[in-house]
């Protein structure tokens, strides 16, 4: 499904700000994999997503998505097969446009000069109703009026409107209050399960990293340290993860935000 071979990226090479963000990352995802990714700030998690999505060209290596080499494909072309959510709920939708217009953009389809049909509007309504947030009755309101949680739920809907080959979730619940975060997370699970989507999720919550999906990656200094698959993950606790991290890196994982997830 997704194969990364020897991906490296150094920002600002040759200057005092030189920062090696990714070092020879190799990764292979099967179709339907749901991978959670953990690691301290600056470990290279978001950079990995940026490389996959095509926000920059990696210094070395190749990226293959669904059998096709996309290493040199521009971001907007890759976006047709990659859905992406960010931590900032404001980032994924246009505040000055209505819910309906945002969904129409996400749905794509039809020619450039086509209008949104009645059938499509009805389909949008049904999808919005699934969110259980009352948004289906506010379709003609600008998105700027929605709360952060509502906007992130809408963005999730937009990103998966046309089922993407790969869904990238970059701490997409981190900026939401705990109740809303839980709701958006369970929506995410539903949508990923129903669509059988291949998904990668960055999280700072170590317990949900172990609970969700079928595979967990741990990153540090631009490398994938640990790659725990289905059976290896079974029965692991957050303490086990922290211990494994220490053994591999030789230092304790002392990121407060990550520890917040410890139960």
């Amino acid at each position: 499904m997704l194969t990364l071979k020897n991906i490296s990226k150094t920002f600002n090479p040759g200057t005092v700000n030189e920062k090696t963000a990714l070092t020879g990352v190799d990764l292979h995802l099967e179709k339907g994999d749901f991978v959670t990714i953990i690691g301290a700030n600056g470990a290279g998690k978001s950079t990995l997503f940026n490389a996959i999505a095509g926000s920059f060209l990696p210094d070395t290596g190749t990226i293959t998505l669904d059998g096709k080499d996309v290493t040199f494909q521009p971001e907007f072309m890759r976006a047709k097969s990659i859905g992406r959510l960010f931590q900032d709920p404001m980032r994924g939708s246009a505040p000055g446009m209505t819910i309906e217009e945002n969904l129409a953009l996400a749905a794509g389809g039809g020619g450039w000069l086509s209008h949104v049909s009645k059938a499509e509007k009805a389909a949008f309504r049904d999808k919005l109703a699934l969110l259980n947030m009352g948004l289906e009755d506010r379709m003609r309101q600008p998105v700027g009026l929605l709360s952060g949680g509502q906007r992130q739920a809408l963005t999730l809907l937009m990103a998966t409107m046309v089922p993407p080959k790969l869904l990238l979730l970059d701490e997409h619940t981190a900026a939401l209050d705990p109740g809303t975060a839980e709701k958006v997370l369970s929506l995410t699970q539903d949508i990923v399960r129903e669509g059988g989507l291949t998904c990668m999720m960055i999280t700072h919550n170590m317990s949900s990293a172990l609970e969700l999906g079928n595979r967990t990656l741990m990153m540090d200094s631009g490398r994938i340290l640990l790659d725990l698959k289905q059976d290896q993950r079974k029965g692991l606790t957050v303490d086990d993860l922290l211990r494994m991290f220490k053994e591999n890196v030789g230092k304790a994982l002392d990121n407060d935000r990550m520890l917040l997830g410890v139960r």
Partner: protein, 308 residues
């Protein structure tokens, strides 16, 4: 002052307001929707005027309109290419194109800075002849401007709801979103600027033909004038559907001209027009900013009084 004299003044204001509102609608697309302040507007307006005039003088009054619009599209395309493909800042791209167009415009007019159309067949003279002996005689300027504005509004209302139109609006509304979506911002910016400048060219063409002359300064200050009208219109109809907002900015343009006409009657010298439009733009943009700063100013003053 007699009633007919007042109607005469109002009619002139309406004609000018409507003709120039085509440029305002162009900025409605580029500035309000695409969030690009297109400073090539002045030059493009003049380009539309000169190309339209030259084609009309060559004996093709109807062809002059699509020709002027095509010239506008070309100018918009160059501005778009400079800012999307060559790494030139969007404001600078507009200024560069504007400067270049000065020479182009003089070249179009045959190395002259003035063209006279007193004896030229134009769209306006054709309609003048058509309307003779009807109740609408002498209203051709108003009718043509009104028709053009109506067509452009209908076009915008339909176009901005198509997928392409939505993509253009999203590009201006949330560039972050567009960057990580399947919309190519280079494409949407280019299309938006081409369409907007077609309207600017049309606006220039119609103004020149109704005035029966073009000079190289016909478009100077047009971007500020149009921005002033746009901002006036937005304060009246800031929200609502695209069509309503488009009608709002046209009204803004007419109100601007009416106020200006009244000011002229009150002996304001004509050369003050551009200063007035500058001041309106400053007030319209700085006003909301100061309003947002007001609570803090109040708190500071209250704190000052308490001697803190």
């Amino acid at each position: 002052m007699s009633l007919s004299a007042i109607w005469g003044l109002v009619q002139t204001a309406l004609e000018l307001g409507l003709t120039c509102s085509l440029t305002v609608l162009a900025l409605f697309l580029s500035y309000s929707m695409l969030n690009v302040c297109d400073l090539s507007t002045d030059g493009c307006f003049t380009l539309g005027a000169t190309v339209g005039a030259v084609v009309a003088i060559a004996g093709h009054p109807y062809l002059s309109i699509p020709a002027a619009m095509a010239a506008g599209v070309l100018s918009g395309f160059i501005t778009a290419v400079l800012q999307t493909r060559m790494g030139i800042d969007s404001l600078l791209a507009g200024i560069i194109v504007n400067t270049g167009l000065y020479s182009v415009n003089i070249a179009v007019m045959g190395k002259s800075s003035l063209l006279n159309m007193n004896k030229t067949e134009t769209v306006f003279t054709r309609f003048h002849a058509l309307l003779e002996n009807t109740p609408l005689a002498g209203c051709q300027d108003l009718l043509i401007a009104l028709a053009a504005v109506a067509l452009v509004i209908v076009f915008l209302a339909l176009f901005l709801r198509t997928r392409l139109g939505l993509a253009i609006r999203a590009t201006g509304n949330n560039p972050d979103m567009v960057r990580s979506s399947s919309i190519n911002p280079i494409f949407t910016t280019t299309v938006g600027l081409c369409v907007a400048n077609a309207f600017t060219g049309l606006s220039g063409c119609l103004l020149a033909q109704s005035q029966k002359s073009v000079n190289i300064d016909i478009g100077s200050g047009m971007v500020t004038l149009a921005l002033a009208s746009l901002l006036i219109g937005q304060t009246f109809m800031g929200r609502g559907s695209i069509a309503k907002r488009a009608v709002g900015v046209v009204l803004g343009s007419i109100i601007f001209r009416l106020v200006y006409t009244i000011a002229l009657r009150l002996n304001m010298p004509a050369f003050m027009l551009k200063l007035v439009s500058s001041v309106i733009v400053i007030i319209a943009i700085a006003g909301p900013y100061f309003k947002s700063q007001l609570p803090m100013l109040r708190r500071r003053m209250a704190a000052g009084k308490e001697g803190r």
